[in-house]
Structure formats: C-alpha cells, structure tokens
C-alpha cells in the first residue's frame, strides 16, 4: 500500500449501452477489486450513465509517452493511400 491513505488508483471505463465500446470515465481510489468496482459505480454511474463497468489498476496501464508522438503517429499523415477516402459511401450508412 502506498503512503496515500486513500489507497491505490484504478482507472474506470464505462459502457453506456450493451455493444458499445467501453470509454474511459476517470479514476477512483480503492484498496481492492470489489471496492474499486463499487466506488466506480458510485462515482461514475449514479445517474444511469452505464450498463457495465471495467476497473483496471492504474499502474497496469501501458501508455505511450509524449516523446513517442512523432514516431508513432506522424508517418501516416502523408500517405494518402492509407486513408479510405476513395470509396463512395452508400446512403443510409451510419457510424462510419
């Protein structure tokens, strides 16, 4: 346990409706899995915001760093053939 008396941090992901992706909502403090799940429910889904919740210990998240931005994300910008802009999108197709 850390010196912080509120316990370790957990990242919270909520799903608004079944089938939709889980979206990062924020984080909570908790000392164990069950407490993390309950705290996430109380903090992020008090008003019907979720139908499912994931909690993940914050120190288990592997993240890219600001130094990675150039090598990770820039190269795709100048290659027009990577972007699917040459297709006709049929009428009535949503969420594309």
């Amino acid at each position: 346990m850390s010196n912080d008396s509120q316990g370790p941090l957990w990242e919270v992901f909520v799903q608004k409706k079944p089938g939709q992706p889980f979206i990062h909502a924020g984080n909570v403090h908790a000392f164990d899995k069950e407490m993390a799940l309950q705290n996430a429910r109380d903090v992020y889904s008090r008003r019907n915001e979720a139908t499912a919740i994931w909690v993940v210990p914050s120190d288990q998240i592997v993240a890219s760093t600001p130094e990675d931005v150039g090598s990770f994300f820039d190269p795709s910008n100048d290659k027009i053939f990577r972007h699917p802009t040459f297709y006709q999108i049929p009428d009535g197709v949503k969420n594309l």
Binding site: Q6, H29, D32, Q38, N39, R41, D42
Partner: protein, 251 residues
C-alpha cells in the same frame, strides 16, 4: 385489517428509512475518503426516496389530508415508530458501517417479503427498493468483512461497535397486533417472522469477519411503540427546524 393498522405498519417502515437516512447524512463531507463519502451519501439518498414513497402512501392510507412532509416534519418523537437501532449515533466508521450492515440485511429480507404483497403500491415500492438495498447490503457487508480481516485497530473498533449496537437489534423485529392484522390480510409480513433469516445471514457475515455472534443479550426495545432514546429528539430537532420555524417556506 383496519386502515390504522396499515398506517402504523407503513410508518414503522417509513420512519426506519427516514431516520436511517438522516443519520447517514451526517457523514456528508466527512467520509474517510471521497469515494466512500459519495457511497454513503448515495445510500442515504436511496433511503430518502424510499421513505418518501412509504410515508406518502401512509398519509394516503390515513386519509386525514396530511402528506409525507407533514408526517416527516410535524410529528414529535413519541409519534415516530422507527426501531431504536436507526437513531443510535454514528460513532466511528466501524460503528456506522456495522449498524448499516445489520439494517441493510433486515431491510433486504423485509422487501423480499413485501414484493409479494397483495397491495400493489407496497409491492411496487418494494420491488424498486430491493434493487437499491441489494447494493447497500453488498457495500456495507464487504466493509464489515474488511474491517474484521484488517488490522488490530479495525478489529478492535468493529468489536466495540458490536458491543454498542447489539442490544438495539432486537427492536427491529418487534411486532404487535397491527402487524399481525397486516400479515393476515396478505399485505405485509410481521417483523419477527424475518428474524430467523436475518440471524442466519448475520451469523454468516460474522463468521467471515472474525466476529462472535452474541447470544442471550438483553434487548432494549420500544421504538415500534414510540418509545425512543434521547438521540432521536436531537436528530428530529435538527431535521424539522426549518419547516417548523417557517411553515410556508418554499425552495
């Protein structure tokens, strides 16, 4: 069954909820950490909602033109029929949590019976409420287990809380002729009928929490008849002050 018997039965349930919620609100802004502060306030809000529903129906059954606010704010302590356990001060966090866990089990088992009520209003309130109470019970029981398996200090505090609270638990299960009438007509359950299931559930909780289930403790009763500890008077004074000083206040 008379209307008066049902009215009193609904007051017992509604007053348990109202006083329980008002006590929990004292923790608002003082919880041990932010998330737990929110969790407890959430529980209190659920209980206020249920209290509102039961007292609204009680007022309707009484048929004297009162509403739920009149019942909440314009009765004196001897007219409240809540069990004594809900009015006992919060104490430390172990005592607040243990008290809530004991009440949550009672309320959960009560609602499990009330969903079968022949009275549609009561069955409706209970079936909505049972989902909320299922969560309250999960939250508080988990905390009791944590305290009971935590540090020497948490176990000592939990045991002290048990010593302070246990003598008031019997009051939850006091039943009178009114309750018997309500039960006979299929509208509700007499509170003492819930005790065996409650005892089994609490014994199970205590065995997971390294707590000894107290046997043969003399119980302090009377809440269901309107006999209360002085703690209730102070609580009501604070809760009722505004509507009594400014009867027509709107906000």
């Amino acid at each position: 069954m008379t209307n008066l018997a049902l009215f009193r039965y609904l007051l017992k349930i509604g007053d348990d909820l109202l006083i329980n919620a008002q006590r929990l609100c004292e923790w608002t802004g003082h919880g041990p950490f932010l998330e737990e502060d929110l969790a407890l306030t959430n529980i209190a809000l659920d209980l206020f909602g249920q209290a509102n529903a039961f007292l609204e129906y009680a007022a309707k059954v009484e048929g004297k033109g009162r509403d739920q606010d009149a019942l909440a704010f314009h009765r004196n302590d001897t007219q409240f029929l809540n069990a004594k356990l809900v009015e006992i001060p919060n104490g430390d966090y172990a005592q607040t949590i243990l008290k809530q866990a004991l009440i949550d089990s009672f309320r959960y088992l009560l609602y499990q019976e009330l969903v079968k009520s022949s009275d549609q209003t009561i069955a409706g309130i209970a079936s909505k409420g049972v989902k909320e109470v299922t969560y309250h019970r999960r939250h508080t029981h988990q905390w009791v287990i944590r305290f009971g398996n935590g540090t020497n200090e948490s176990m000592e505090r939990l045991n002290n809380a048990l010593g302070n609270l246990w003598k008031y638990t019997g009051d939850l299960f006091e039943s009178d002729e009114d309750d018997a009438m309500v039960e006979k007509s299929g509208v509700g359950v007499a509170f003492h009928k819930i005790f065996p299931a409650w005892e089994e559930e609490i014994k199970n909780l205590f065995s997971k929490s390294n707590l000894r289930y107290p046997e043969n403790v003399w119980m302090i009763k009377g809440g269901r008849k309107g006999v209360h500890t002085e703690y209730l008077s102070y609580l009501l004074n604070e809760m009722q002050m505004l509507p009594r000083m400014y009867p027509d206040a709107k906000w």
